[in-house]
Symmetry: D2
Subunit: 369 residues, 4 copies
Amino acid sequence: MSRLASDRHRSEPVGVAVVGAGYWGPNLVRNLLAYEGCELRWVCDLSIERALRAAGRYTTIRATDSLETVLADPRVEAVAVATPPATHTAVVLECLGAGKHVLVEKPLACSVADGERLVAMAARSGLVLMLDHTYCYTPAVRRLRELVMSGTLGKIQYVDSVRINLGLVQPDTDVFWDLAPHDLSILDFVLDGSCWPTAVAAHGADPISAGRPCIGYLTLPLTGGAIAHIHVNWLSPTKIRTTVVGGSRRTVVWDDLCPSQRLSVYDRGVELAEPDADAATRQALTVSYRVGDMVAPALPETEALQHVVMEFVASIREGRLPLTDGAAGVRVLRILEAAAHSLRERGAAIPLDLTPVGTGNGVARLVAV
Amino acid sequence: MSRLASDRHRSEPVGVAVVGAGYWGPNLVRNLLAYEGCELRWVCDLSIERALRAAGRYTTIRATDSLETVLADPRVEAVAVATPPATHTAVVLECLGAGKHVLVEKPLACSVADGERLVAMAARSGLVLMLDHTYCYTPAVRRLRELVMSGTLGKIQYVDSVRINLGLVQPDTDVFWDLAPHDLSILDFVLDGSCWPTAVAAHGADPISAGRPCIGYLTLPLTGGAIAHIHVNWLSPTKIRTTVVGGSRRTVVWDDLCPSQRLSVYDRGVELAEPDADAATRQALTVSYRVGDMVAPALPETEALQHVVMEFVASIREGRLPLTDGAAGVRVLRILEAAAHSLRERGAAIPLDLTPVGTGNGVARLVAV
Amino acid sequence: MSRLASDRHRSEPVGVAVVGAGYWGPNLVRNLLAYEGCELRWVCDLSIERALRAAGRYTTIRATDSLETVLADPRVEAVAVATPPATHTAVVLECLGAGKHVLVEKPLACSVADGERLVAMAARSGLVLMLDHTYCYTPAVRRLRELVMSGTLGKIQYVDSVRINLGLVQPDTDVFWDLAPHDLSILDFVLDGSCWPTAVAAHGADPISAGRPCIGYLTLPLTGGAIAHIHVNWLSPTKIRTTVVGGSRRTVVWDDLCPSQRLSVYDRGVELAEPDADAATRQALTVSYRVGDMVAPALPETEALQHVVMEFVASIREGRLPLTDGAAGVRVLRILEAAAHSLRERGAAIPLDLTPVGTGNGVARLVAV
Amino acid sequence: MSRLASDRHRSEPVGVAVVGAGYWGPNLVRNLLAYEGCELRWVCDLSIERALRAAGRYTTIRATDSLETVLADPRVEAVAVATPPATHTAVVLECLGAGKHVLVEKPLACSVADGERLVAMAARSGLVLMLDHTYCYTPAVRRLRELVMSGTLGKIQYVDSVRINLGLVQPDTDVFWDLAPHDLSILDFVLDGSCWPTAVAAHGADPISAGRPCIGYLTLPLTGGAIAHIHVNWLSPTKIRTTVVGGSRRTVVWDDLCPSQRLSVYDRGVELAEPDADAATRQALTVSYRVGDMVAPALPETEALQHVVMEFVASIREGRLPLTDGAAGVRVLRILEAAAHSLRERGAAIPLDLTPVGTGNGVARLVAV
């Protein structure tokens, strides 16, 4: 039997629990509290103190260190999982097994095989399995996706993403698994089947002898002759978060750290391939800063995680795949696994087989199989 | 016999000619005119009209279409060569053969073999062979070099360079040979033997079917575990020219298109490799933009080419290698050739043998051998 | 009898109520909830729905529309007042009369006379009366104050503040009373008695026929020959929030909308008064962007209102004047009143008598008189 | 007899001389040399060395210290005057008296009376008298003018101009006369009769005891309820050059020191005057950075002075008033004189009588009267 919420009363809030109250869990708690479409019932963590702290002093929400207790609550329909990545597979399986919809932090799992198990399990049970690909729910990335989907940018020529973070070396992962899921999920979301990576080559460096790459470059040839490139970097006292999406008609620069102008859409794509570009033209381009008008669209300053929560609840209520579904999480894992393979082979290009199905798109129905 | 200028009167200007009055030649003319240390005597181009135009209407300088005439003028001691790259080897050889010092545009030649012939010829004749690696003479790059040389940055961890140009596809070259010489010459100049590339992997894309790469990525492992990366791109309506040099003590961001703040020196390098980075630390870093103070040094707004001209004249007068000598030009060619090789092998890393001798440094004496 | 908290147990949280749950109240609620030094007991608003909404769905805090009930709660020691400005005098008087410490939104009152009554009443009762001059508790303004206090900037020469807001015309006030309190409280806080305004001239414009000034300029001669200037503006689709503080040794630019670089400290003050500044010097300055190094200090990304709450609680516990005390609020009112006078007299300079006592400074003891 | 060029051969270059080879003269020389529409014949300066230096080493142009000699040359039709302001009246009168067209640096003269004499003399003689209001010929200001003229901005509501210069105190003038002519000429050019100042109030400060204002503020009520404001400042180690023009439909921010985005046109003017702006609206505006899209038009990187020279030559050839004619220079003088008056009266508003005739507009014919 499908556990879809379609037949229950729509206006009733969806009962939710948060599992994992470490680094990201408190953000989930705050956003679930703020959304009237759900009712947060539990905060669960192996450390009860952490769970209590995340719930807050004035709250009516219960804290627990027992996942079993949470899953036994029949009014909990959905669980947001923010435990460490290594535990995702076990925790998500348990939640799905108890008939709960799941929102899970990135990366979905530690391997493609595990990720596919989770997706299959959710599909079998007709349950929502949603990835918290938070960036996909920022106003900037949503607009970026619209610009691509609507053909405003023209044919995509390149995507170049730089994510240089403040110098915090993670103890249990490398820079690719820590940071690249952000960029890969954005790439997956923004391109959404219009073109997709056919291979990946990875180059890493560990200049501080951390025992794993702290700087990483991913090169991803895209179908149609385009190319995507991702630079992730732990070693910096300053942040840089810029993505350039070049198209045949327009180019977008997304600077996530410039709140007054996150997106800049430049008007003219490349049309120049002049066999006789004369000196005057070159000279003019040399002194110019750009060749077409630029539009910086107004974007609302809304918290992305609020939209994640809303999409999670909406997909449960409407019995459909969420925009960032388990399949999107698996595609990210495929690239991460292939990148690890490439790294072991000194940067050789590893072919990828990504079915160009796009993301959940918010339309495909959940069907228990 | 050495043709060094050491025995002639120091205060007398050096007689110079410009050969090639196309795209770059007029800039050389303007800067040679402005420098009192030289006397511009000829502007030479296959098109006499172009030569006349470059010389200007009010000038006492002679225009010609005969290189022979120029080289026959005994008061011409030095020639600035700004002809197309394919002609460099022949023209420079002719100039050196006539006993003239040479300043030549990048790239030095079209192959390592040709480049080495030119360097050998200059060495044999005791003549200056200088590369017009213009960016190395900007106040920003000079300061960058000082920051590296003085140890201010600490141990170099990575260099990341982005050069996205206005959409002008060159007819006779690919994006690597057109743009990467800038970044490679800067890398060569700034690192100057403190570390150097041991291999290169190249990835390119041609999404507009131009018949050659229009987007390119070079990954260069450096000695000591560091890494350099260069992104060159013809396909954009807006320019981006940013280089980040990360060190163990400080990180520098060079944004060449921000004249009021070209260099930003961030105070704290990476020191964090915490096995137990707790949630609070991660959270704090997540909301922060950076972790240390930043200093943006005041830089004079001087024209780099003026300093090129001054260094050319000074190296002639002092009988020494210029800061950007023929050997630097050959090192750039070695990387370009290996990159082309890597491209043909789908991005495989091609080992490099770059003698870590640094640049001319302005001290080594010219000796005719 | 003094109602100072000095004799009660220090580690016990201070019982607090929020009165006024409109625009700003919810921010106070959120920050009081987050601070362990206080216990939020009530949210009070004439509209009980608004009070309930501000308290939130999961809360143990009580909502009420009765101020009397709140003041009757003996465990409420302090009240944060965020009602409309026109009600401040009455509400604050009632709170003080009930022996409660008060934190009040800017402006303190609608006239100097009313403001002085409140200050006198608080002083008589030995109660804390603190102004929520929020900007004074941002990391940027605190640093700015330190830079002035420590002499790093040298002698202050000018302060220039621009506050251009998104186009929202307030119904019940003009642009001076709505926006200038921010700038005036910052000025008061940063200069803190090192120099102070001796007069004010006000110019306003109402190009949209709103019936009151929508654009305003305040010019304030400062002691010692310096000058402060404030530009407030409601009529814009984009925000600008920049303050320049020029000193004899350094100049600071504070751009509040640039989170990665809010403060820029330029190294060299003015020292040039050259009778014979020759053409070359002028030319050099003309092409330069600046003449000294710039330092952009790292600032924590903390919420100012959290620090307001902490200072409020600390001043209650320590029985001392808060950093932004009632007297600071009165000084702001004095300037606003004089500015209104100047406006009526077509911009004539109105003398000010501001006792140069600085702000509360967090040291002066509260004494019931 | 009219000395209009209309009857001479159009394709012949206009013979020109530069008088004054100090700070600005060499820029005029360079731009006159580069323009084929004129023939530079003389460089004249009281110091023959300065004249020779400005002419350059390779030139065929003659240098002299005799204005008489220059004016006696029948092939000199026009003179560009770049002598110190105090000498403008005498030099320009002499040139006009000799039947030469004149381009003169700002300010036109040291008083309105002198300025009017020059305008009258030029009018009587049918000669071009053009002001070198250089900024009016920048691509940014030309576009700004178009945006106003075409109604794109809607009704002008305010103009706010900030010109903070590197710390160079001029010996023979105050900050108003030194810097404000730039802003006043831009204001005159951009508004061009659509609205105009009706009064001026000036406030100055001299915190370094230079003996004259080093910081200045001008407030100019404009017809129609709008307002213009100018801040000029000598005392800074960094430059700021920003002008905001607010209109009922759009607002433009011009940042002259940001070459990649000098003009930003914000989409939505002010339309909000909501009597019941509720808390939610205020909250939304508080967290937003702006409310409409922004367009940054592509602007060519051309040198303004080249366009000054072209307009000078074109107005001579076409026998018409130049875009920035003598009358524009007089209007600037009127405001400067009134500002000086206001300063003496402690900032009182001094009424202005500026005939709203707009600038020369490049259409009115020169007629000798």
